[in-house]
């Protein structure tokens, strides 16, 4: 076994414990260094993940963890999102005396997400899911003097733990049917025994798993926690939740559901098609009526989850690649957008210490004059989220919708075409509420002086902008990466 491939996880885990221990020893004033320390660790992991394991397959610990292109792409997403969140947190949690715990939890949640990305065994998957979830429950409630933050944490905790209980129940049923917790062994069992649609216990297990992952992905019947949690949590944590933790559900679903569904040959595409369409339409329609920008971003991220889950509808190599690309793009755009909202909150709190609802739409008036870098970046993120080229959002959506159209033509099925048309109409609908914010930022007069944007925020936002535009302008290597990931999955 070659443990060097697991170095990013090992490094981040050790770093988290070192930060906790050092936090006990050093004074509150010097705790600001932990942000830089975490950023350095994440940067090292990012470089390592980019350079290693992008081809081939290696398994560890009796086949319970696996490193393949799919796991590496998602690790890339998780590490980038954490890096952006950590850099922004250097400013957001400056001079907070609990910083050590914050950074340790953030790193541990990243490790949990990375374990989920490379889980090849139900036990590893469950443990990774819980590590990431439990760290983020605490992070969501980190501002413990702020009632909204605690309420967000409580709602997230209750719904999150119900979803993990449902997932565990589904896993127990799958273990009962197949007698194994190893994912390839499970899929092999399904393939050999031709467990078909008549097997009610198999269907029940799949429903529980879809529900469990669906809560994390915030698909529509399971989305109730997402807007509340994203609105109430500190903005940097919302960025981590919306951009990182959500993708954890997708990678788990890619690993188990796609393969299992192919193997048991259930006509569950219809289920996913309906879920995806309801999710994107609901997210976009409700986002229109929001005044709170964080809440609007939460609903738009529900809509994006709807687009990504279109990959489960046709399950071709191309569509899975499109789903992976859109997940990568969405992580960058949404992470950056939440950090930009954090800058606006900082600006409003600078004007008035006791301001409430700092992310209200009215506060964005004249942002183009007050904070030009933030406004321009937010403009780019919004256009990218709506899917306008050249941006990561466009590339992902294009490949995903194109793959479904190809499948519709080759199967001569009209319902697939209808799905694509609904998805494109939804993208058009989303431009409405993004454009409204853009109008506030650039057309309406500012209600204050120009402010100096804090450097950490600017670095974090620019990182996300570079990623968003970079993938849009030069998509080939990323498309190749996504196709490799889909091939590794074996669809």
């Amino acid at each position: 076994m070659n443990f060097t491939l697991l170095l990013p996880e090992i490094l981040l885990t050790i770093l988290a414990f070192v930060i906790i221990l050092m936090g006990l020893l050093i004074s509150d004033k010097s705790k600001n260094m932990f942000g830089y320390l975490s950023a350095a660790g994440l940067l090292a992991s990012l470089v390592y993940v980019l350079g290693n394991g992008m081809t081939g397959k290696t398994s560890f610990f009796y086949d319970s963890l696996i490193i393949d292109p799919l796991s590496q792409v998602f690790k890339l997403i998780f590490v980038i999102v954490s890096l952006i969140a950590v850099i922004a947190s250097i400013e957001y949690f400056k001079n907070n005396r609990n910083q050590d715990e914050y950074y340790a939890l953030l790193l541990l949640s990243t490790v949990g997400m990375m374990v989920v990305a490379s889980a090849n065994d139900l036990i590893a998957l469950f443990v990774g899911f819980e590590l990431a979830s439990m760290s983020t429950y605490v992070l969501a409630g980190f501002e413990k003097k702020n009632p909204a933050s605690l309420e967000a944490a409580l709602k997230y905790f209750i719904i999150g733990s119900i979803s993990s209980a449902l997932m565990l129940f589904g896993m127990s049923l799958i273990y009962g049917i197949t007698g194994s917790t190893n994912i390839p062994a499970i899929i092999e069992f399904f393939r050999i025994t031709h467990l078909s649609a008549e097997s009610s216990i198999g269907i029940l297990a799949m429903i529980f798993l879809v529900a469990g992952f669906g809560f994390k992905m915030a698909l529509v019947p399971f989305h109730m926690w997402a807007p509340d949690t994203y609105e109430g949590s500190p903005s940097v944590v919302s960025a981590l939740l919306a951009a990182g933790s959500k993708k954890m559900g997708f990678v788990a679903a890619f690993r188990i559901l796609i393969l299992a569904l192919v193997a048991i040959r259930v006509d569950i595409q219809y289920t996913f098609a309906i879920l995806a369409i309801i999710t994107m339409t609901y997210g976009n329609v409700v986002a229109i009526s929001q005044r709170s920008i964080k809440r609007m971003l939460a609903y738009s991220s529900i809509a994006q989850a709807g687009y990504i889950s279109l990959a489960f509808v046709v399950m071709t190599q191309m569509s899975v690649a499109g789903g992976v690309l859109l997940a990568l793009g969405h992580a960058l755009m949404k992470g950056g957008a939440f950090i930009a909202v954090a800058v606006v909150s900082y600006m409003v709190l600078n004007d008035n210490k006791n301001a409430k609802n700092t992310d209200d739409l009215g506060n964005f008036a004249g942002l183009g004059k007050r904070a030009p870098i933030t406004a321009l970046s937010l403009f780019i993120f919004f256009l990218a989220l709506a899917g306008i080229p050249p941006s990561a959002g466009f590339v992902g959506k294009f490949i995903l919708f194109y793959s479904i159209t190809v499948e519709a033509v080759s199967q001569a099925s009209s319902w697939l075409l209808i799905i694509v048309i609904i998805a494109i109409l939804n993208s058009a609908l989303s431009i409405y509420y993004y454009a409204r914010v853009i109008r506030y930022m650039y057309v309406l007069p500012p209600n204050g002086e120009r402010i100096k944007e804090p450097v950490p925020y600017v670095i974090a936002i620019l990182l996300a902008v570079i990623g968003t535009i970079g993938i849009g302008l030069y998509p080939e290597p990323f498309i190749q990466m996504a196709i490799n990931a889909a091939q590794a999955l074996g669809v």
Partner: protein, 99 residues
């Protein structure tokens, strides 16, 4: 006892848990119901482990019991923090964030 009796008990516990989550309004009671859900899955795992004749299920159950303990600790911590701030853990009163 056959596998079926264990599965039946596990389903009954699961249903009680779901019923409690839907009807109860106290944060602590909901936490207890979540524990019921997790434990019904554990019972399933152990029963299947004995039925299938391999130990993986029992190992899985041990992992999930450990994780459930950590989860309960975090849940109570959040409830305590909320009670200090708001003097209530009744979920009906926790409604700042809404539509």
């Amino acid at each position: 006892m056959s596998l079926y009796s264990y599965l039946l008990i596990s389903i009954i516990i699961f249903t009680i848990g779901v019923y409690g989550i839907i009807t109860q309004r106290s944060g602590i009671k909901i936490l207890m119901c979540i524990e019921l859900l997790l434990n019904s899955a554990n019972l399933n795992l152990v029963a299947f482990s004995s039925y299938n004749g391999n130990a993986t299920g029992q190992i899985f159950a041990i992992f999930s019991i450990a994780i459930a303990a950590a989860e309960a600790a975090i849940g109570f911590a959040i409830l305590v923090a909320l009670f200090r701030l708001r003097d209530t853990i009744n979920l009906d009163n926790i409604n700042i964030l809404r539509w």
